[in-house]
Amino acid sequence: MARRPFDIRAQPGFGFIALITFFALYLPIAALVAYSFNAAESLSHWEGLSLRWFVSAWQNTAVQDAAIRSLMLAVWAAALATIAATMAALATTRTAPYRGLTFKYAFINQPLMVPEIVTAVALLIVFSRIKVWTGYSGMGYLILAHTAFCIPFAYLPIRARLESMDLTLERAAADLYATPWKAFRHVTLPLLRPAIIAGFMLAFVISLDDVVITEFVKSGGQDTLPTYMLGQLRRETSPEINAIATVFLALSVLLVTVFFFVNRRKP
């Protein structure tokens, strides 16, 4: 396009509001990170740089336990959700509409549509009864609940990739008398890998972030990092919480960045 003195794309003030928005998006996060390096005992004033709250959070066994539990839960839930979602995606793409297809879409995406608090109390009702009946109150309930709401997140990128995938290679494999399994294993799966990784990571982040459902489903001694923080936030908040939040934040940013680059690299 020839350069014109009049920029048709410009709208007065939009750039300014956009910059304010970006500033506002990052200001609280930046403040939080800054405060986590504050040496002071109290959250409200500044006493110079220090790593003491990171050290004290690191040594806090409750934080350690909660962090390990969060990671373990996220690995399990994301893995199970990715497997289930991959299978479901294979079953619902690249096909002529068949009876039940719309039903499956709605079903798989259902966790996205119901407010979290509603699912949380519904699970509380059902799981607490099952816990009493079976006498089992381990991590299984949390893993199951997390897997369920992670499935739609893992499903989305995998389905998108499958929809846009070239069928020629698979047909070629079939022409060469490969069994469906072999064709999947050696042709479809490698092509699908970036989407599966993306789906797994999305599910992982979603599980790691969940607070509401976990809060209602957890049994005694099953605090995850977010529910531990929620408990802390309502009462005396030690600056430790800033340090924990900062580490958590760094982890999320790292994951999103990796996700961004995995997704961007188009094969």
Binding site: F14, P28, I29, A91, V118, A122, V212, M229
Partner: protein, 307 residues
């Protein structure tokens, strides 16, 4: 010929069967840990409440549903409207609406700004919106608290600048909840808006200017109608979670300014009225479903329009 058709039909049936088998794990997990419990909750809303929480199993009662809207006066036993519930419902609707409007006011120019950057830098801007979005909601709410509390960033800055003498009381008010929700849900507005603006055909804008339209007219008559699907998608995506917000009002509202999510929790906790809690949950869900229907109808209509 007949056999060939039969084999084909058979193969097709086999295909469908395999597809059902493949989707079974996902369907079962979601049924057990998401959809099934909702039906149990529906059943619970029609039972009598237990003395200390739970329900009297199998005892039918409509009390849970009537007490969503009505309450019996403690002292003269007359039946009146449950103003407490109505005011919480009203606050939830009002705050969700304000949140949607405010995120639109800030999100629209931002999305427009991003979509008018050179293509290679757009991704970076989008990425900058995505990072807060993937950051833990709890952490973002907590960060907001550190900004707006009495000795927080905003008040300290305003006092330092000499604009105010005593800190503004923002924490524990509706304004705090509103600020928190706008902050947390803003990316949900920007991303769909950007998705539809990215496809904006600027030749139409140029045509508008050729016909001597002012910038405002171009914005109002050309750009906004073209990105309307994005505006609606963003609004719904912000409105729905706002309506069901629980963590944000719990932390920023100080246990006093409740929204529907907190009212539900109260009934399952110290309120000890599970049927009422179940009935409110289903009411909330129904409201969300209505919003979603609007969205789906809009999406299909605009889809058909483009087709």
């Amino acid at each position: 010929m007949a056999t060939a058709a039969e084999t084909a039909k058979h193969a097709e049936q086999e295909q469908v069967r395999r597809r059902w088998l493949l989707s079974t794990p996902a369907l079962i997990i979601i049924f057990v840990a998401a959809i099934g419990p909702l039906f149990v909750m529906l059943a619970y809303s029609f039972m009598a409440k237990g003395d200390y929480g739970d329900v009297k199993f199998g005892t039918f009662s409509l009390d849970g549903w009537t007490s969503v809207l009505f309450q019996r006066d403690i002292f003269d036993d007359t039946l009146g409207l449950a103003d407490a519930h109505l005011s919480i419902l009203w606050r939830s609707l009002r705050l969700s609406f304000y949140t949607t409007v405010l995120t639109l006011i800030f999100g629209f120019p931002t999305a427009y700004f991003i979509s008018t950057r050179p293509p290679h830098t757009r991704e970076i801007w989008v990425f900058l919106v995505t990072i807060p979005f993937w950051t833990n909601l709890l952490i973002r709410t907590f960060a907001m608290q550190q900004v707006i509390r009495n000795e927080g960033l905003v008040n300290t800055a305003l006092i330092w600048l000499g604009i105010i003498e005593r800190p503004l009381q923002i924490m524990h008010t509706d304004v705090a909840i509103l600020l928190g929700m706008v902050y947390v849900y803003l990316p949900l507005m920007v991303l769909p808006l950007y998705a539809s603006m990215e496809k904006l055909d600027f030749r139409l804008v140029e045509a508008g200017y050729d016909l001597y339209a002012s910038r405002l007219q171009v914005l109002w008559r050309i750009i906004i109608p073209l990105v309307k699907p994005g505006i609606i998608a963003g609004s719904i995506l912000v409105f729905i979670p706002s309506l069901g917000a629980y963590v944000i009002p719990r932390i920023l509202g100080g246990g006093k300014n409740m929204m529907l999510g907190n009212l539900i929790e109260l009934q399952f906790g110290s309120g000890r009225n599970w049927p009422l809690g179940a009935a409110i949950s289903i009411t909330l869900m129904a409201m969300v479903m209505v919003a979603l229907l609007v969205y789906v109808r809009n999406a299909t209509r605009s889809g058909a329009g483009h087709g």
